[in-house]
Amino acid sequence: MTKKHLKLTDISKEGDVQLDEVNIDELIPLPPPYDKNEGLKQLTDDQKVRLVNNLDGFSALALPKPKDKAEENKYIGQFVAGLKKLLSKENNWTFLQPLLLSLDYCARCQTCSDACTVYTASGKKDIYRPTYRTEIFRRLINKYAKSGGKLRAALGAGNIEINWGTISRLYELSYRCTLCRRCAQICPLGVDNALITRELRKLFSQELGWAPKELHEKGTVLQLEVGSPTGMRPAVAIDNIEFLDEDFTESTGIKVATPWDKEGADVLLLHSAGDILSFPASVIAFTVLCNAAGISWTLSSEAPGYDGVNYGLFYDDIQLARIVTKHAQIARKLKVKKIVMGECGHEHKALITVADRLLIGDLNIPRQDAMSFLEDIVFSGKIKFDPSKNNFPVTLHDPCNVVRNLGIVEPQRRILRYLCPQFREMTPHGVDNYCCGGGGGLSVMSDVNFTDWKVNVSGRMKFIQILEAFADQPGPEVGKYLCAPCLNCKLQFKDMFKYYGAREKSGIICGGLAELIVNAMVDVKKPFITWDEE
């Protein structure tokens, strides 16, 4: 099969033409036993009639086809208006300076392409190049949002047309990037393609009202309304955690209880509600550890104080700001000394650094990451550990939002080196890690056939990397643990491991860091981590 070369102007082809397609045998190969080809899920005939499908044969957004030309033109008009707002100090002070620095000074050298796991995994498809969407966006801004732009475009500065095809394809394409920022890290000029991609998503959300429903309608909107994108209300959150506490007490004989809304506690622990539902062991583990270490802590039952996620980070500044403000207000009301994050990478980035310039006065409450918090507990001397209880192969997945985006690299490693005799690093790791493939909100998105894209394309490099880390004991008879201290990453691994049958074929399961710590506690007799199906 010959590689398809795309021109930048192809983006504005007639609305219904599909630009490229993903064939499984063009992707970089997986090692056995994962090398058999199972076709990728296609849109059904009915979906093809209803939904826009003009990019790569996948639909993450289930965008309905426009009714008529008038509707198309309305969106086109809004898109152009949005381009201008992105350049305005009032509407976009939040990212204007970084945006301009990234827009105006890219040398088009393509050094960044090979750093991108999506591009590499796809067998180097032009459509997934970090620069493909951003260069198009750059030319559109230059042409439509700057004075004299049309003339300059005609004179040879790059001329791309805005039509329905352009905007609908760009919309899908802006969700083919995990915002992992490997491309930004390698760029010699400091250009950040992930940032540009996020600005593009922002334009769609803040001006056209277009956003993936998992991130917006059933994401931030639901969180601001009822407290959590899972739909979990305060009473249900309390009830669920009580259930988990009792369950643990029953099965281990160790009595645990979770403090709620304790005013003046040292620590407000901000879990993600998704952990309660999908990875409850993580929540229990924190409870066990905080209690055992004698920490003065509390959870909050005020919406959304029991769900630390903030999908606004992925697509919308306003929603981002609304949620961090809510979180900070709740902490202020409880008069806690600091907020500590649960194991959720994007929550860390949103609340620790990004929010730092949104919170002013007494809302800017101290915030600590989960890794150094757990490290303090482990090395406090208050809990007795027996590392031999963790004597199975363990490797660490670095969540992009914790390492590359936040610079928290070592505390989690100090814990693992102490408590996991068979700990081994992946290559590359730390700030050079590969993204799990679910970054930038992708891991919670699963509309139409998008899951197939996530597990086959964006997660592919990571999956290979995990298998390589465990290559010394590949068989399913040895239970292996992938430690991924981030809810979004764990969800991506859950989808991926299920799709490939990684537990059955290789004995690999995925969980967080706190679970490993509890598993090594002398007082917890029964194994906390098991390889049974969860």
Partner: protein, 105 residues
């Protein structure tokens, strides 16, 4: 919005076939969902799980944790997969007529 006909009713569904208007649900719809996934007869055990799920959803606006489902119905996870081919989240919830779970689950 996609549409799908089940048990003689035209239903609004999402792209994965989950019902969007949960109040239109009836037992025949559950049977029709089951038949589509190759389960032609819904047993007492199916109904135990479906009824528990549905009632929990109606009371709480969200599906129960898997652990709770297991405890309340007394079915192991394996048993649940035997009853519902795509598992509790993708089959059991769908057959019970509640929307697909979202938000980091």
């Amino acid at each position: 919005m996609a549409k799908m006909e089940l048990a003689g009713v035209m239903l609004e569904v999402d792209e994965h076939g989950f019902m969007q208007e949960t109040n239109k649900w009836n037992e025949d719809i559950a049977r029709a969902y089951g038949a589509k996934e190759g389960i032609n007869e819904l047993t007492e055990e199916h109904w135990t799980a479906i009824n528990y799920l549905r009632n929990y959803y109606l009371a709480n606006g969200i599906c129960p944790m898997i652990r709770r489902l297991i405890k309340e119905t007394g079915f192991s996870l394996k048993k649940l997969y035997d009853l519902f081919p795509e598992g509790p989240a993708n089959s059991a919830c769908k057959w019970s007529g509640v929307p697909k779970a979202t938000g980091c689950v």
